[in-house]
Symmetry: D2
Subunit: 159 residues, 4 copies
């Protein structure tokens, strides 16, 4: 079983947060396929039990590069139904549009027919993992918990 | 196993849509607990494997009566984690704020830690079931499919 | 000319943020009508050139008490068209649903036909003013700037 | 005075809706600069008193091509403050993610510091103009009214 951890990252912070999420997926005993938007393939999506996607916060909506993936993979829509989806975001600014960026990703996933989860309660318990700047210890820990939550839900759904 | 179908309805259309959703829950072999916002109890939430909540579209956000339930049941937050959530809405107007009303409900559910689904693909495949005025045949059919989707996911998660 | 600064506050933090916003309105030479949800009247809305409304963050959507005002004042809808609207929120938690709470208020205002503004650029430059816990110096300053921005826009629109 | 009417259109419907909006702008005595995402320039934005942007509904969020414009024009952010913004969307499906697509555009505009309006009351009175498929008479009329509303607000703000 595989979970795709997909990110677009310019400065490197979103990639770093993606890495902690991938670690959480692996901790649950599921393979994490860590890919940037320029690396990910339709097969990655088709073969995955879940997708966790993240973006820097550009004007409160996921970066065009990440949206392009959802637009281009439209032919996979029916295959993605009932797979698990979750989202993450990093910003350079404290109030920064993080929630709406996360929701822009979750909206795509819902229309793909996916099953959506946010942070688990032991983490921050919200729409997804978000941090400002480089992920600190809390953000890294929350990232791992989100990865673990998604992976465990994938395992439960395929049992 | 029980799924709560919770609604606030003034003119009766949201109640009618709730009834079709409850029928879909029962079709999947799960008990539907159909309750209005003035009838629902904390025990209903605590005992349920999932909650499907609906509202008329009042200014693009769920009615105050439904929001009050989520506010008042704050003490249940931890117990609701990993239960299934979904939403529905009815409006009197064609463009009507239905999507944002559905999302206002899903946002509460996500912060409650719930696992979120929208319409299945065989229905309209979006954030939840919505209709204008009294549910017609399509809306009723979509309502049943949403109820069935939630119930089947509850069964899978508790297996 | 009047601008209503409307809030629901349980612990007092949302009220404190409302007070800084009202101060910003007055600094621009416009009368601020500072009212809680239990005090505000339809006349307050009807007589105002703008409304700035705020709520604590309860599950990512404005508190039921504030939503009730928008629901109850439905008869004013046509009169509110082209008045100015803005929003604020306070939370007890760092990642907290602040943005979606602000948006739930702005959605109501947009369907009321109002003209919407967020923070000005010199403040945090986002959907509205938000803070965690009691407003600190930055939040207070941002609150004043939002009040001033709304008041100045009201003045421009009525000139 | 100029208002940019910006669109991304693949099948032609979003372009057609853009044309009716541009007509409404011109009816108010303001020049409409009708541009696709591949034609628009930073100067168009910098010289405009307002921007009305539209997209087909791709998974409930504006198309990547339109998001790319907002991402690429980040350097204009401060210049766009206090200009007027509005949005439109077209879908092929009846329930289709139109509202969240419109909001994804409005979120960008708010973070650009713009002043936001939706449909006027004589139109459908919501977050923006949306239609399914080719714009019919109602959608065309609503489009013209949105264009007119934005243009009139621009005139008022610059008087």
């Amino acid at each position: 079983m595989q979970v795709v951890v997909l990110y677009y990252s310019k400065g490197g912070n979103t990639k770093k947060l993606a890495e902690t999420i991938a670690k959480g997926v692996e901790d649950a005993g599921v393979e994490a396929v860590l890919k940037s938007t320029s690396e990910v393939s339709k097969d990655d999506f088709a073969n995955a039990a879940g997708v966790i996607a993240g973006s820097p916060v550009y004007f409160g909506v996921m970066a065009a590069e990440l949206k392009k993936i959802f637009d281009d993979f439209v032919g996979l829509r029916r295959q993605m139904e009932n797979k698990v989806g979750a989202a993450f975001a990093t910003s350079n600014h404290h109030s920064g549009g993080k929630e709406t960026t996360i929701f822009s990703i979750l909206q795509c996933m819902m229309i793909y027919g996916m099953i959506i989860v946010g942070d688990p309660m032991e983490a921050s318990g919200h729409y997804g993992v978000a941090c400002q700047g480089e992920p600190d210890e809390t953000a890294s820990s929350d990232g791992m918990k989100l990865g673990k939550r998604v992976a465990e839900l994938c395992l439960k759904l395929q049992s």
